[in-house]
Subunit: 217 residues, 2 copies
Amino acid sequence: MPVTVLLVDDEPLVRAGLRAVLAAQPDIEVVGEAADGAAVIPLVRSLRPDVVAMDIRMPLLDGIEATRAVLRTVAEPPKILVVTTFEDDEYVYEALRAGADGFLLKRSRPEEIVHAVRLVAAGESLLFPASVRQLAARYGAGRADAEPLAKARLTEREAEVLRLMARGLTNAEIAAALVVGAETVKSHVSAVLAKLGARDRTQAVIAAYESGFVAPR
Amino acid sequence: MPVTVLLVDDEPLVRAGLRAVLAAQPDIEVVGEAADGAAVIPLVRSLRPDVVAMDIRMPLLDGIEATRAVLRTVAEPPKILVVTTFEDDEYVYEALRAGADGFLLKRSRPEEIVHAVRLVAAGESLLFPASVRQLAARYGAGRADAEPLAKARLTEREAEVLRLMARGLTNAEIAAALVVGAETVKSHVSAVLAKLGARDRTQAVIAAYESGFVAPR
DNA sequence: AGCGGCCTCCCCCGCGCGGGGGAGCGGGTC
DNA sequence: GACCCGCTCCCCCGCGCGGGGGAGGCCGCT
């Protein structure tokens, strides 16, 4: 019986890479993919994978929150293997605290990736913070640009407001649609902008499209 | 004769993803890989690829320097397709100044990646994902969705302004980017809004996404 | 019972935005 | 030459937007 894996990453290219690397192994089977953290829980329920390879920086629900959500809501949770780049160093520990079973650098060689999946599937735990620090130190002398959508844990109401923003509605129209006051909408909009790292509603809508939160028709 | 491609990225996962996406095409052949910019030149000399898919952020020699080096030292240089994670203006312009033939976001969908490789191999140069979509919409099976913008018939300058609007820039920033006055940008924005039937810049950006004028993901 | 998160609503305030006009200039067409 | 069009820049003006605060009610967790 092969190890079944669910891939969760917002970049199709990374998913394709993981799939190519893992599917080449006879004892590993990729059973599904997700592009954001919000889609993980239903997929885990229906596919019941042994391992979830989870990116940290993702739209809608980041890997840390998604890890917490899976471990909190699923009866027999899969092993969580956090897949990260060096920029996410700070978040690695948070992910491990959230209950992740191990982490993996995207820079890893294919053999290491395969090895990591096998190990966590077998119940081993991968903790190599030293190597992460090394890599972070080596490459970290670069930009400090943000991860706008990663920390974006929108509440239900905020997500609803963002959807309406992404349909071109003004605050007043959103208020009418949701049957609340205009000031309330302003509060939600401000919260959305802050969480997305957007300067104005236009940038928020762009982020919504870019992250796949809303899809062009 | 298939298009031959050399993959240059420091992350094996990204290389595997590109390879998986490109190798699935009968008319594209991945002839080699490199993990840093320094290894590119000898590989280009020996493999003579049609296209080099080049990451920007790499150890030893970044993609921009590697691009310059290849174009400076190789007799019949390949097309350089810069593959980048962030839609970062400075890097993009720097890469294009260095002689790159186009750039591609890692967030792009597989079809867009394949399309981009084919286009640069054919001698087309793609400056922005938007132009990729435009070309795709023009040659590919035209969707009815593309009509609002097709009918709008934006002038070149207006299209440029819309592109920058769709990247979240304010009027002042657009003015700075285009090296014109703020009042000029206002005029163009007004013209764009009128032609798109948009009430504000947010609706204009939505129309840009919905029509495929700019590409998500 | 306390605490924190979420949703709701309110104030003031600055400013970017968009509409309404107008105008000069170069290039192309007729 | 007359004409149109695209690009450029300018004026005034109203208003939606977003930031800065604050506040009360509800719920779930501890």
